[in-house]
Structure formats: C-alpha cells, structure tokens
Amino acid sequence: MNLKNEPVLEVNVSADGQANVLFRGRLDATAVASAWNNLGARLSATKVKQLALDASGLDSFDGAGLALLQYLNQGKMTPRATISLSGLKDELKRLLNLLTAEDYEAFHLGIQHKTPLPEEVGRATREVTTDLREQVDFLGNLTASFAGTLGSLKRTRWAEVWHVAELAGANAVPIVSLISVLVGLIIAFESAQPMAEFGAQLYVANMIGLVMVRELGPLMTAILLAGRSGSAFAAELGTMKVNEELNALETFGLEPMRFLVVQRVTAGVLLCPTLTAYSMFMGVLGGVLVLLWLGFPLALIWNQMQESVHLRDVALGISKGFVFGAIVSAVGCLRGLQTRQGPSAVGVSTTRAVVTSILLIIIADAIFSVLFFLPVKL
C-alpha cells in the first residue's frame, strides 16, 4: 500500500541523459494531474536518451493512470529516447496493451478538414435556392389544399380551427392588451414633449390615431403572433415530423397540408384581423389616457381623431391583419414541415419561423405603404 507521505511518482534524471520514473501504490487521476507538470519539466530539462519506467511498486491504476503510462511508454514525452518498462504486473500489462500505437495514429488522422470557402458559398447558395423553391411549392400546395377544402367544407376539421384560434388568439389577448396600451402610452408621451414646443400638443391625438390604426396596431399584433403562435406551429409540426406522426398521416392518405396546415392558416387569417382591431383600440386608448392626463377633454380628443382617421385607414389596418395572419401561420407551418432530424432540429425550425415571419411581415407592410400612397401621389 502507498503511504501518505510517499509520492506515487518519482522522477530522477541524471546529467548523462538517463531518466528513471518510479511508480508506487495507486496511480489515479489526482496523482496524474498533480505529477504532470513536474514530470514534463524534469524530462524536458535535459536531453533524455534513455527512459526507464519502473512499475514494480505499482498496485493499480485508473483510466488516467493507464493513459499516463501509455503516454510515457509510447515515447510521446521523450521522442528521442529509448524506453524500457519493467516490473508491471501481468493484469496491468494486459490493460496497457489494449491501446496500440496504430489506434493512436488512426485517432489523430480522423481530424476533419475544414470546408473551403467556395464550397461553403456554393452550399449556402444552394440552400437559399432550395428554400425558395420549397416556399413556392408550399404556396402552391396550400392554395390547392384550400381549393380542395372549399369543395368539401363539411369534412374540414372545424373543431381544430377553433382550438387553434383559441390557443393563438384568445389566449393572446392579455399580452396584446398590455403591449398595445403601453406602446400607445409611450408614443403619446414621447411626442407630447416636442409637440408642446409648437403648442401643438392636441395633434398628438391625430398622430396616435393614424399611427395605431394604420401601422403599429397591425404590425405589433403580427410580430406578437409570430413570436407566440408562428413559433408554436413550427414546434408542433416539427415535433410531429420528428415523431413520424406526419408519416402516419400520410400513409392514411391524409395529407398534412389538408389535415393540419389549412386549419392553422384559416385560424390565423381569421384571428389576426380581430386581434389587430383590438390592438388598434387598446393603442389609441393608451394615447388617450396620456392626453386626458395632459388636461384635454375627451370630446376634443374624439373630435381630433374623427377628423384625421378615416374609414379607409381602418380598412387598411384590418386588411393588413388578414395578410399578416396568413403570413405568420403559413410560415410557421412551412418551417415546421421543413424540420430535419436531430436534437436541435425543432429549435432551428422555430427560429426560422419567427425570423422569416417578421421579415415577410415587414416586406408586406412596405408593399402596403407603396400601394396605398401611390394613388395619392398620382
């Protein structure tokens, strides 16, 4: 047995390049870790020509001890020395022979080469074009499925539509309320200060009305929906794909498109405008609260708003809601269906769902603005 005061490993290096390493007791991970630096320093200080490993006192070792013995015995620490190992017990020797020099080399040959830049660019380009094609494919499929659904309305799973609408719509009311009121409040506050310099604080009412109804109401609702429900659609369909549930549907002759996607997109298209209208109202409410606090009477505020916000502005906001709802739910489903294999696949899909949704929402919003103002300019 190894006594506490005796080191497990002892190194002696003579000036003529003869090194002796003596092992005793149990060579375990702690002993290896504490001896490593000293061992390296001593063996590299002089040019070692002969390394003698004396293991006659060695009782046992663990994985780390075995590794150290192998490392020394294969000359990794003293590349130019001749090495001898003596006194190792038979059962320990068998373990030592477990790993051969070939294993070690094969292990180091396996290091993967880096992908060259052109190859990476090519792959990325291909991925983008494939994705574009899949999007077009999806859009076509979705349209066809909707057409098919219209032909057999009774067979559409309406219960699923309502269920999704409840999860994605009704349950989102609290967060939409909070964010809309606060954004209305913030914008009113921030703009009231500069407007006061021109004595035009009352016009904050006009601005809040327009901004909330035409832009922020639809936009905030859509972005919230993308984060809350688009991602959920992607995760749900993605998990179903990973669990082979989509395959099960398909072998029944039930296309996931008609069985799952149509319901979600229908729910999205129906609930997004509703939520948008609600968000407009709450946003305006936030602004009105600030104006009331500034001392304007409600009748005056109402009057200002009626003058500036017309029915066509509300119609624009609501129609944005329809389009954004379709984008968010369709993109969520598309990314879900595109889910690949592996532990991070569903996570990747949800990220892609949110990113693509927000991107497309902003692009659609820009198109709306251009279409809406083009006739005004002409």
Partner: protein
C-alpha cells in the same frame, strides 16, 4: 471475509408514487460487488422509475438507497457529488449530447471533474472508446452513429471517470440480435475484467439469460418485487405462475388472440 462488505448497493423499503398513483412499494434488495444485477418486469411495472430513484433523479415517498455507504435519497450537499461520482448511467436512448462529437461527449466529465492535461484526457477517452469498440468513431457526431453504436458510446461516456457501478436502462432495446449480443458480451467482459458492478433494467429475455448473475422481478399486480434469484432457477422453479409465464414468454390468456376460437 464479512459478507456485508460485499454489498455495494442496498435498497431499503423503497416506495415511489407519481402523484396519487403508486408505482411500487416496500422494495428491498441488495446488489453485490462485481455482479450483473438485472431488474426485470412487465411494461409499466416501474423498472425505469426504480432505476431513476436509485440514481437520485426521482425522490421516493419512503425508503433509502445506499451506494457504497452513501444514501442517494437524502445526501447532504457535500456528499452528493461524491456519491454521483461512484456510478455512471447509460440512458435508454443513449442521451449523447447531439451537438458534440463522440470524443467530446466522453471527454466532458473529464473536463469538468479532473485536472488532467489534454493529451492524457485524449488517451483516456481513446481507451474507453476502444473498450466499447468505437475507437474509429471518435470524431463522429451521435447522429452519424447507428443505434447500437450510440449505446456503446453512451457506455463509454458513463465509464469516463472509472465508476465502480454502471446503471444501464434498456441496453438492448431496439437493437438487432447481433448488436445486442455484442453489447451483452461487452457488459460481461467489463464486469469480469474490470470488476464493474452492473445494474440493468431490461425485458429482453435472451439478454437476461446471457448476462445476469441475479435478477429481481417487479410485479405490476402486487406493485413490489415478486421474485428474486438466478434467472435459470426462476425459469425452472418459480412457484408463482406469472413469473414462470414471464420467463417462458407465454401470453396472458386475457390478451391472447381469440378470434379463431370464437368463430371456429
């Protein structure tokens, strides 16, 4: 030698429920050092729950699990890590970290719990992988491995810190007979040559007869252990007809296919 000294795990009066639902109660058994101990039972009998309770993942209602003199059920904070270091676990699906290579998976415990230098760590990992026959797959990611290889890699990872006990959850489920037999051989080899104690949950009978020194049967009818002993003896001499039925792979009459009889 004192026979008590040979007991490495002792489970005392263990009862586990999920909420209101009782999984098992009054489970008592002991595992001896160096043996391959198998926990058997039908589907839903609580085998995996028992394993999870033994490794401290699930708190029991009552009872104790002693592993080499440390109680897993209510260890103090200082003791907890030290007890965890005494055993390695292979989960049913392998549970390799998908974002890492096999090498990094096996090296992770070494990185976290030892101060070993990099070349030594690599050699330790390589030795473990060689033991499970995966020396050539060190740079692969888990998704590039077959099911059997993933389980082998998971065993290598469980062995990274040289534990004295290995817990395996369903090692041969989902494997073909050849791979499964290879895994059985690995288990018996590790037990014999390295003195590792195995606690294995399975219901693959061929595998049980090949590897088990002793088995216990968790019985979902009585919600506790209904038989304990060597697998061969239980098959031949069990007094409980259900245990004999289990070992001889006979179907439950209530669940058998009756169509041919009723419509004959």
């Amino acid at each position: 030698m004192n026979p008590e000294a040979d007991i490495i795990i002792s489970v005392k009066d263990l009862s586990v429920s999920y909420g209101e639902r009782l999984i098992f109660k009054n489970v008592n058994f002991e595992v001896r050092r160096g043996e391959v101990f198998v926990i058997l039972g039908g589907s839903g009998s609580g085998k995996s729950t028992l394993l999870k309770t033994m490794i401290g993942l699930y708190p029991p209602q009552r009872g104790e699990v002693w592993i080499e003199g440390g109680n897993v059920v209510s260890p103090n904070e200082n003791q907890r890590l030290e007890i965890l270091r005494r055993f390695g676990v292979m989960y049913q699906s392998g549970a390799l970290f998908g974002s890492m290579t096999v090498l990094e998976n096996v090296q992770l415990p070494l990185d976290e719990f030892t101060a070993l230098p990099k070349p030594i760590k690599e050699l330790v990992v390589l030795a473990k992988l060689k033991l499970v026959g995966l020396a050539g797959a060190a740079r692969k990611t888990p998704s590039e491995l077959s099911g059997g290889m993933q389980k082998r890699a998971a065993i290598a990872r469980a062995m990274a810190l040289d534990p004295r006990i290995l817990f395996l959850d369903e090692p041969s489920s989902g494997l073909d007979p050849i791979t499964s037999a290879g895994l059985d051989e690995l288990i018996t080899g590790l037990a014999r040559h390295f003195g590792i104690t195995f606690v294995i949950v399975t219901h693959e009978l061929p595998s049980v007869f090949a590897i088990a020194d002793r088995v216990i049967m968790l019985d979902s009818r009585v919600r506790t252990i209904s038989a304990e002993g060597k697998p061969g003896e239980l098959r031949e001499r069990a007094t409980d007809p259900w245990v004999r039925q289990f070992f001889n792979r006979q179907p439950d009459p209530a669940l058998s296919f009756h169509l041919d009889k009723s419509h004959a």
